[in-house]
């Protein structure tokens, strides 16, 4: 999920202090831009670890070029699966015709995700293919691959530069999807240096044209460690359409467990 890795970050300071005590910055002089990019991605993942589980609500407002709006609402449950990708469950509330539809994802590090859909009209659980990574999520400007698990192994990296971004200084890293099924040739990520929070992403399509820009804002810290952006705006520069994804009601340390993320759990998902 975007949020699961959206880069909630604890203090980098502790890490730096530790490293400093070893007598110098990690990987120092000879680090290539590729190594540095990968190191930052790994650090970001380390910071996101250990959250256990959480639930949240999301509202998407889809806007077309003419300014017409359409709304999507869903509730989300996420369970951390140590050693593998996270398990997540979406239950849709709006639009009304898909109300009660639930979507279960078991993300994996080293193989394709497992995905099941629960269709309430027939009470049918359907295993679906996860290979359509570039498709639109609920008609929004977010693709499945933007929403899905951002595992480190899914990209190769290259550090570009440091530059100011709003009130902070950002590390700019370029990453390249490993899978050919991705809709992107590359992505450029801006992460602030203090907390490794993701601030902005530029998405480039297969022809290397700047397709979309994601901007993350309204950060809040949970459990004293995990930063979550409460507003994510995706603008498509080719179509002029945009989607604003708003997060609310984050709850950590809930009663969620493995059983809520099985096919039986999917059938009673609310």
């Amino acid at each position: 999920m975007i949020h699961a890795h959206s880069i909630r970050c604890a203090s980098l300071a502790a890490c730096l202090v530790f490293v400093a005590s070893l007598g110098g910055p990690p990987a120092a002089r000879s680090e290539t831009p590729e190594e540095k990019g990968l190191r930052i991605a790994r650090e970001t993942r380390e910071k996101a670890k250990g959250f256990g589980n959480f639930t949240a609500s999301q509202t998407m407002v889809l806007r077309n070029k003419q300014g017409q709006e359409s709304k999507r609402q869903a509730r989300i449950k996420v369970l951390e699966a140590p050693g593998d990708g996270d398990k997540s469950l979406f239950v849709f509330d709006q639009p009304r015709d898909v109300k009660g539809t639930a979507f279960l994802i078991h993300a994996h590090k080293d193989k394709a995700d497992d995905q099941w859909l629960f269709l309430p009209a027939l009470k049918r659980v359907k295993r679906i293919s996860s290979s359509n990574r570039s498709g639109s999520f609920m008609g929004s400007e977010f693709a499945y691959e933007d929403m899905g698990s951002q595992e480190v192994e899914r990209y190769t990296y290259r550090y570009l530069r440091d530059e100011p971004c709003g009130d902070a200084t950002c590390t700019v890293v370029e990453r390249f999807p490993v899978t050919k099924r991705s809709g992107y040739r590359r992505q450029v990520l801006w992460q602030d240096k203090d907390e490794l929070r993701l601030r902005k992403v530029h998405y480039f399509d297969r022809k290397n044209a700047h397709l979309k820009t994601l901007t993350l804002a309204k950060f809040q810290k949970y459990l004293d460690r995990y930063w979550q952006a409460h507003e994510m705006t995706m603008v498509n520069h080719l179509t002029g359409k945009s989607t604003v994804l708003t997060w609310s009601d984050y709850k950590y340390g809930t009663k969620l467990n493995e059983r809520d993320f099985t096919r039986t759990g999917l059938k009673r998902a609310r």
């Binding site: 639009p95 109300k99 290979s131 359509n132 008609g139 059983r259």
Partner: protein, 416 residues
Amino acid sequence: MPRAFLQMAAAGAVLVLASVLAAGRASAVEVSGRVGLESRWYDQDEAHPGQRSHASGVVVEPKLYAEDDEGRSVTLAPFFRYDGGDSRRTHFDVREAYFLVFGALGEGEWELRLGADRVFWGVTESRHLVDIVNQTDLIENPNEEAKLGQLMAHLTWSGEWGVAEFFALPYHRERTYPGREGRLRGQFVVDDKRVSYESSAEEWRVDLAARYSHSFGPLDLGLSVFEGTSREPCLVCRPPRLNERLELLLVPHYEQIRQFGLDAQLTVESWLFKLEAIHRSGFSNLAGREEDYAAFVAGGEYTFSGIFESDLELGLLAEWNYDRRRENATNPFDDDLFLGARLGFNDVQSTEVVVSLLADAEHSTRSLFVEFNRRLSDSWSLHVESVFFLAVDRADRTTYPTRRDSFVELHLSYNF
């Protein structure tokens, strides 16, 4: 008989609902559902006397859900249809009225659903062969996907090893059939007043079913068994009766059957490979003779996504239906190839077009199905469905009576 079912289901639902609410434990109550306006046009004159060429109607399907802090819940989903064409299609049903509890059991979990519910088994698209727990509400749609609520005790036990489900089904529901004025029926109308059962307990015989299912990596597998009163009646086992118009009415006879089922799906990148197979014993064939048989549906589906660098998604599927009884099969799927294409626009309105063709390998029968779905607003949605009988072989006994029943249906829903 439906009345007895309705009373029981309603009483049960009220009881559980009352107990949850009275205890003041309901921490969340939710009302949702839909109201639909529907119109069906048949462009050809009727094949059987009395049939109408146009029918409009209304569907009301509310759903009430209440849950307490422990996650125990009650679901109540009645169904009502008014149909201006076929008076028999005007009907009421309790699709769902059940109480749900679940909890941990060792490393796994248990779940119990008590009351009227719907259960779906299977993976294929052209036909739902292994799906047997619920009776088909055939009068709703000839595609056999609409199901009547079924009273049940449904126990699930799951763990790392898979999911085991056990069903006790204490009351049999009769299949609904079009009346005299209705299209998409056989030459003779099925009697809705008289019914016959093989079991002396009649509709009160407790049917039993069980299913084991598990995901082995990319493979989803299900094994099932059903023992009890057949959901499909034999329409030629009992002598027909004459009505006041001196027309023949078929008397449905429900036999005791045993059915083993297998359903499997292999998901490999953009491919889905699907198989459903059954073995049924104790059931009479189209000639009225008991014949044990096997049947299967096997096929695959491939999805092209992002075609022309757009959000368009094209799914192609092919399924082969086979029934060992061949000429004596009680359905049109004795040896038929199903080819389908689904075009998804992945737009804000979730626009979707599905075109499929069912071709009989023995006969010259060809049926074409076209479906169109589009969301009009947050609450309103449009569904257009049509069936065209392109060619119907006179020797094809299951499809020939419906040869003049090609139709277009327009369905406008308000979802809440």
